[in-house]
């Protein structure tokens, strides 16, 4: 590890994150039909527009009664009540067959279960006592009109969609998916296509919508309008590294070029019109790492989501020490076995081999010379492993 300090201005990673977190986020909302709302993020809080239930109702099939009329009833001492038709006021000494969901008429205050009554002619023989309120859902018992149903910012899943439908809603106001213009200027086919596909997948994971333009830095001007622009490749300081110039030529600007992050040191942070623009390195591992550490964080916030890692972070003990230069935030993939994390040696110039094999990763803070063996570190847990462990 420690394959070299970036040769650029060395903006500290913490300052790069501050820059990202200060970007305005105003992509706004859009309505979506309930059928398309799964996984979207609710924009404004959803409140109940009526009491739930909106009236007293029977919760089960049976007989609506006045509980006091059943006092003393048993199979040895059945009490006879007169059966009256549905929908009338229930007077003392009367009962009414009911089904779940039926409105409770005035006078009734309990539902007698079917097995506790026997119909004989036009009468009901009650064989058990029933408590006042039993089997009845009271108006407003579930929620009051005006109560919060779903808070703003909630990722919509099955229950929220089913709840909205039961409120009579047919669409919901959700955060618009940020449009992310991806300009791949670095790698050659087929690596370009694969990197584009990998980034599109990550962008979708983080709530955005990738739009991939022509694979040249010249395509940058056509990237607008977008909510976020990623210019990938040619971000270094070599002879053919013209990404910075392309930004200027397209009318944009870079606030910073170079972050003390490895891999990913040639990242740039700037603007194309009102859209934040990130320069990402073109080699696959640097592109993916700088997306994960920097671009994804901004995108998630633009999409109305939590900015933090989209994977669980777990405390793990290092199986081996990690040496890392002070001043550099070094990204290190690890494999995990139980509560232990083993740093993966990245093959020089071929780090994607190790990344593809990793169960997670950690970032060695810039202020440290590394971590000692057995030190407890925060590991971002990749993939499905995160959902399988119990601790």
């Amino acid at each position: 590890m420690g394959s070299g300090l970036p040769r650029y201005e060395c903006l500290a990673l913490a300052d790069a994150l501050k820059w990202l977190d200060a970007c305005p986020h105003a992509v706004g909302s859009e309505p979506v039909p309930l059928e398309q709302a799964f996984g979207r993020v609710l924009h404004a809080p959803l409140a109940f527009a009526a009491d739930r239930p909106d009236r007293d109702l029977a919760l089960a099939d049976g007989y609506l009664v006045r509980a006091e009329d059943t006092l003393g009833a048993s199979s040895y001492n059945p009490l006879r009540l007169a059966l009256v038709p549905e929908g009338t006021v229930l007077r003392a000494g009367c009962a009414c067959a009911c089904h779940a969901g039926q409105t409770v008429p005035p006078g009734a205050n309990a539902v007698l279960p079917p097995e506790a009554g026997e119909v004989a002619g036009g009468a009901l023989d009650v064989c058990d006592v029933v408590a006042r309120g039993a089997g009845i859902g009271r108006k407003g018992q579930g929620a009051r009109c005006g109560d919060m149903a779903v808070p703003a910012g909630r990722r919509l899943g099955g229950p929220q969609i089913a709840l909205a439908a039961s409120m009579g809603l047919t669409d919901l106001s959700v955060w618009r998916r940020p449009a992310v213009a991806v300009v791949l200027a670095g790698a050659k086919p087929p690596a370009t296509e694969a990197l584009g596909a990998a980034l599109a997948g990550l962008i979708a994971r983080d709530g955005g919508k990738a739009r991939q333009g022509a694979a040249t830095v010249g395509a940058l001007a056509a990237a607008a309008p977008a909510d976020l622009v990623l210019l990938v490749g040619r971000s270094g300081r070599g002879g053919d590294d013209d990404a910075g110039d392309a930004v200027a030529a397209a009318g944009g600007r870079l606030d910073h070029h170079g972050v003390a992050l490895a891999p990913g040191g040639s990242v740039g942070l700037g603007w194309l019109g009102s859209a934040p623009l990130l320069l990402l390195p073109g080699d696959p591992i640097s592109a993916l790492v700088s997306y994960e550490v920097l671009a994804g964080r901004l995108l998630r916030r633009l999409a109305g989501r939590a900015a933090d890692w989209p994977y669980p972070v777990r405390r793990r003990a290092l199986s081996r020490k990690i040496v890392s230069p002070v001043g550099l935030s070094e990204w290190v993939p690890v494999t995990c076995d139980g509560t232990e994390a083993a740093p993966l040696a990245l093959a020089p110039a071929d780090g994607v081999i190790g990344y593809a094999r990793a169960d997670g990763y950690l970032i060695v803070p810039a202020g440290l010379e590394g971590h000692s063996a057995e030190e407890i570190v925060d590991v971002v847990m990749l993939g499905e492993a995160s959902s399988q462990e119990r601790e």
Copy 2:
């Protein structure tokens, strides 16, 4: 809680899970282009078909040298080497300008950084010592031909896709997405559409592809061929609960009808042709809970994923006791605050209100009468909260 034991055969939840886990899973594989592989599950292990790198190569721009020729060199004592053209055997006393990625010719064994050499005429003045092997990636150093690149069953993310591209692959063999036929026979519009949308979202989350047929039990016969059939609604024992009959009429069968799970007691487990068929209750909360507890587990396995909950499971202390009848596995939504979980009271017949508000849920095991306050329980953490906490 404890809204009543199901009125059906009471298959224990553990036995229902055993039934699900015993279903054969042979949906097989399909090739997908790399561009569409993000999030899919690799079907067969991917091995390197060549050494990585496949030859010795320069890792950086500079000068290829024999390290022994630089011994003793310093800025006070520069050593002069003859510059020779690229591609020739490097003899003693010679050097050759190189760029990153260039093949190392026989004889050369190190890359001298550009700043450690100065070109003067056709010669190079070497101002620093370089160690043998410095700046050179050895053939097979990253991986050997035949080494595992990505194991079978791995969910494909950015690094795996980038790695496959760098191996020259243009597509990958992944688990086919199981086709899930959803027949909504219970609720009325718009609740039907919403429940269909909610289930389609969950099915996509679990790696399947929902195909929704006409919303009647009669549509069941048309549901085949599918890898999994969900018949939702009319699963109970009331007069219009004809789902069981519809299964028989369509040529299917139920192995079990009724699981000791609440909500979700009227679940059925069976077959339609060679496809597993699940009867789910029609009311939204029972449908969603029985999907989460039962159907989702089977689907994830059919899709080549881990069968376990697709959310992290965390240990939490209950803030209040939960009473639950012995013999019933009771699903209880909770809100979480720090390390504490508070059970949500489900509004009778309107449990979806509580579910929509929940941060997670737990299942009270059938053998317990509930949990006492402050007891530590396993909570399945829903939504994004799972990815934000550190512990």
